[in-house]
């Protein structure tokens, strides 16, 4: 366990692109990140930093266990998975929201019956309705959640909504916003203390470039 490089985990995909852009803006040489091929660990030339690419939930796991010091991950994943880490900055990109959507023209809250909600995010959904003090049945769906109310499996869905186009095209509409989402910078609790200066240096660079 010799002093390893500072490790940043990025969520693959859209968040990765934006995050790489941010790293470039700060002044890091990101050519390895742009031409990554199939590599999963990439170094930043002339810096004591390496970048790890992972799926969103795994970014949390790696940071939580301390094998990565920092991570960039969506608030949606944080809300669904939870975990112990510091969530120190809202990076402002990857903006969207969790919303409760129903078939156009229906009232989700009407009547006494227990409602069924389909979602890819059972924890977010449970916490939301628990807070409202409403009993609901939650059905976990892996693919396109919009299908569930259309075929009659659920009364509503809780899902990520960006523009609302998918909802509209399928005859659904937002009934309530659940929570706003954007990409967050997370830090392992021990790294934050043992490597405070280096991490704070990076964080302040990032914050300067967010403004």
């Amino acid at each position: 366990m010799e002093n390893r490089k500072l490790r940043i985990a990025l969520t693959k995909g859209r968040i990765e692109e934006k995050a790489v852009g941010l790293l470039e803006k700060i002044g890091y040489d990101v050519k390895n990140l742009r031409e990554k091929g199939r590599k999963l660990i990439l170094s930043i030339p002339d810096e004591d930093i390496e970048v790890v690419l992972a799926k969103a939930a795994d970014v949390i796991t790696y940071v939580e266990h301390g094998v990565c010091d920092l991570g960039v991950v969506g608030k949606d994943t944080i809300m669904e998975h939870g975990g112990k880490f510091y969530e120190i900055a809202d990076l402002g990109f990857g903006k969207c929201r969790f919303a409760l959507a129903v078939k156009k023209g229906t009232d989700f809250f009407a009547g006494y019956g227990v409602k069924t909600v389909a979602t890819k995010y059972p924890n977010v959904t449970r916490n939301y309705f628990e807070k409202k003090g409403i009993d609901v049945d939650i059905v976990k769906i892996e693919g396109s959640v919009e299908l569930a109310p259309l075929v009659g499996l659920a009364d509503g869905i809780v899902d990520i909504v960006e523009t609302g186009t998918t909802l509209k095209e399928n005859g659904l509409e937002v009934c309530e916003d659940v929570a706003p989402i954007s990409a967050r910078l997370i830090v392992n609790t021990v790294s934050m203390k043992l490597k405070q200066e280096r991490i704070q240096e990076i964080v302040s660079h990032i914050e300067e470039n967010l403004k």
């Binding site: 366990m1 002093n3 939580e64 301390g66 112990k84 510091y86 120190i88 900055a89 021990v190 043992l194």
Partner: protein, 397 residues
């Protein structure tokens, strides 16, 4: 039906060979330290009644406890924490013992972690509790002992100090709903700056918003305490910060200053902490290796009014770091293997070797050839063959 007879439950593991040795090494170093500092050992039952851990002050989350029922159908749990049973002990069997009492323990705790999280459900802890006494002196002793304990575990350590009392006092003065208080505590504890900035965006509330936003940012070296004065005003906070400063300064006379960290955003979900709280970190382990603090309400909750302070080290986690860093020290092959036609003679020779300080292993294999092969496989460098006249021939492997 699928039988689960070849697996250990998630969050548990079999420890083998050098893992056991490293773990024993750490617990021996720690118990040695505690014992020589005048602490007395206690062992509390692995099974306790649910009620010991459930209440307002004792609020171990019930979903995290392993539960079972006793013969009278009463709810029991596998001990999820050692401090609460020791507080129970202090208020019952030890109630006639004069305070202060200094106790140490070396035992396992059990908790249910989220599935597939890779966390340990069985955690071996070695720790101390100082019950009663002058709180400033007891806090200082606990911190010094914590630092010494960490040093015995790993030279590359940090001890970090915070104070639950600051947040509690702020909240008491702020007078908000319980829900907001819990949320604010969580935001500060997880350094959720975006959420704090969003919720406490207006600063026209007598400085509370400023203070809540500042707490999690106030971490680093001892100088942080000076900076904190910009955000925390009033007699209570002046005194608090002064006593923390004093504590850190005293501590810096015992251990190197750079090992001491301060984090005023260090809070605990454990409701029983009232004063200082502290954590110990070692390089190579992603979670705190040591944690502790002052709990002045817990004993009272069991019917004996007294303050206390204590901490526990996660022995197995530290042992794993030790193994990673110098595992070779724990992998020692026996020095000699002894074989004889007559087992009595072999064992006799073994005893003689052991008495001389050798690690000698008796071969239980049927022939010398098999013994040679075994020695080669296990890296044993020497074979002693005892013939029937008790003459010994040594072979190098």
């Amino acid at each position: 039906m699928k039988r689960n007879d070849l697996l250990t439950p998630e969050g548990t593991r079999d420890l083998l060979f050098e893992e056991c040795k490293a773990k024993r090494e750490i617990s021996e170093r720690l118990t040695g330290l505690f014992e020589s500092s005048g602490y007395s050992e206690v062992i509390t039952p692995g099974l306790e009644f649910f009620d010991v851990f459930n209440g307002y002050v004792r609020d171990f989350p019930q979903e995290m406890m392993y539960k079972l029922v006793d013969g009278k159908n009463r709810l029991m749990v596998l001990r999820p924490d050692s401090t609460m049973p020791i507080a129970r002990l202090a208020a019952t069997r030890l109630r006639d013992e004069k305070l202060p009492l200094k106790l140490f323990y070396n035992q396992n705790i059990y908790m249910v972690n989220p599935k597939d999280s890779g966390r340990d459900d069985e955690i071996s802890q070695c720790g101390i509790e100082i019950l009663g006494g002058d709180s400033a002196r007891a806090d200082f002793e606990a911190l010094v002992l914590a630092a010494k304990a960490l040093e015995l575990c790993d030279e590359d350590y940090r001890i970090e100090i915070g104070d639950m009392g600051i947040f509690t006092e702020l909240m008491a003065e702020y007078e908000c709903s319980v829900e907001l208080a819990v949320n604010t505590r969580n935001w500060i504890e997880t350094k959720d700056f975006p959420k704090l900035d969003e919720y406490y965006s207006s600063e026209n509330d007598g400085g509370f918003a400023r203070a809540f936003k500042a707490l999690p940012r106030l971490f680093g070296g001892i100088e942080v305490l000076e900076k904190a004065k910009e955000y925390l005003h009033g007699e209570f906070f002046d005194q608090k910060l002064e006593s923390l400063e004093q504590l850190c300064e005293d501590l810096s006379k015992v251990i190197p200053k750079e090992k001491i960290r301060v984090d005023l955003g260090l809070l605990s979900r454990k409701n029983y902490y009232t004063g200082i709280i502290f954590r110990g970190y070692v390089e190579g382990y992603g979670q705190p290796a040591l944690s502790g603090g002052r709990y002045d309400r817990l004993l009272g909750d069991f019917g004996r009014d007294a303050g206390a302070v204590g901490f526990a080290v996660n022995v197995e986690a530290v042992a794993r770091v030790l193994l990673q860093k110098n595992g070779d020290n724990f992998k020692r092959s026996p020095d000699v293997i002894v074989w004889s036609e007559t087992p009595v003679l072999a064992l006799k020779h073994c005893s003689e070797l052991i008495a001389k300080g050798c690690c000698a292993v008796n071969s239980v294999l049927g022939s010398i050839e098999q013994t040679r092969e075994y020695a080669k496989m296990h890296g044993i460098k020497r074979i002693d063959i005892v013939n029937n006249d008790e003459k010994i021939t040594s072979e190098e492997v």
